[in-house]
Amino acid sequence: MAAWTPDQPMVRLRDVHKSFGQSEVLKGISFEVMKGEVICIIGPSGSGKSTLIRSINALVPINSGSITVEGQEVNDPAVDKLALRRKVGMVFQQYNLFPHRTALQNIMMAPIHVLKQDRSEVEARARALIRKVRLEGKEDTYPGELSGGQQQRVAIARSLAMRPDLMLFDEVTAALDPETVKEVLVTIRELAREGMTCILVTHEMGFAREIANRIYFTDQGVIVEHGSPQEILDHPREARTKAFLEQVL
């Protein structure tokens, strides 16, 4: 297979199916994301959004179909999952910081343990990331002492410390207080503006409108429709999209 080049899709899903027992949660999902694009996936709960985003870094194995990241097939038993995950950063709804390590250590752990990088170099980068997510002074604070929004920004910095090519955001503001949602969104917006390729599952429609190149509306395991933010949010064609948007907007 030819090596991946940036003019090809960075992420390509083809007819992805996934079942948990009897219930099929992904029923043939296909889409493509180019380098530097920001994609938002919206839809009602239980529509398979989280499963979809987790399948991209092989946290959830799929039943059939194809997922490639930078030309590498993810749905292949022989795939080097660890190498894949080093390229793909992920941020979770529940932050999932390591509670026994300080904010700075959380950011430094994976580059040192996984990438075997030099500690002093990693520390310099981690301190720069702390500044980037506006948490100066919180370096030596433990996750349990931080607010949700602060924890989530540490989690974003932790992912960025691995210098990923692609970032996955799984409803990262869903567990936050309304007033702290903004600080996290500001961080993600900066990332997107810097050209980071991002796939977001989100319920923040205003944010999706502002940041996304394309929005995909999913319901019951299929992509109902997709298009620019204006097309999906202002002029939805499908009845299901309209009904969903009426409820959330």
Partner: protein, 248 residues
Amino acid sequence: MQEIADWFRSLYETTGLNFTIFYDPYDAWQFARGVGMTVYLSVVSILICLVVGVIGAWLQSSGIKVVRGVIEIFVVIFRNTPPLVQIFFFYFGMGELLPANYNDIGLREPLLSNVQWAIISLSLFAGAFNIEIFRSGIEAVPDTTVEAAEALGYTRLGVYRHVVLPLALRVCLPALNNNLVNLLKTTTLAYAIAVPETLYATTQIWAESQNVTEMMFVLLATFVLLVGVLVWVMHRWERSLRIPGFGR
């Protein structure tokens, strides 16, 4: 030191309470050696049983069924049999199976000494409990935390070493504490295979000096003290592992 010895000697002469270990150099030496052996058995067994627990708990989550089965059987055997029976099993049962040398006058010199068998037996006994204790801690670590580590590219061993184990340890320390205290007390069973630990030394002393009652008190006080030291060390450890904003 001389004052203490004199005081206990006069105590014996005036009241008949005979604490030989405080004024008789031979008894003192014998007793000190016994306590030294108890400390040695305890420290070595504690270290080995912790390793057994950490590795066993890791293997328990292995993807290979046979490995999990072996750990399961190991835990059942050592949890469901009395520790004294285990010590006898190793010393008399396994000891016979191992090859041995014979010295110049034809006496059998076993490969492992009674002290070594005691350490093996006690370590596996406490290790089996540690496996279960660590497992309870591991199960308390949220799957989502493990998932976050996986998403960062950690290997299974990396997740265990850097994330799961440090968190599990904090959860299971109270239970671990109990097990290690139990282990220290169980070292007295090595008496049965003539390991010269505290209980053994004490019985030697009272057999010669005819001071059973006095030595019983000394024995109790000694273990209260030894366990006290262990508990103090464990609490120090627990405190040093405490994470701000985590748990209580």
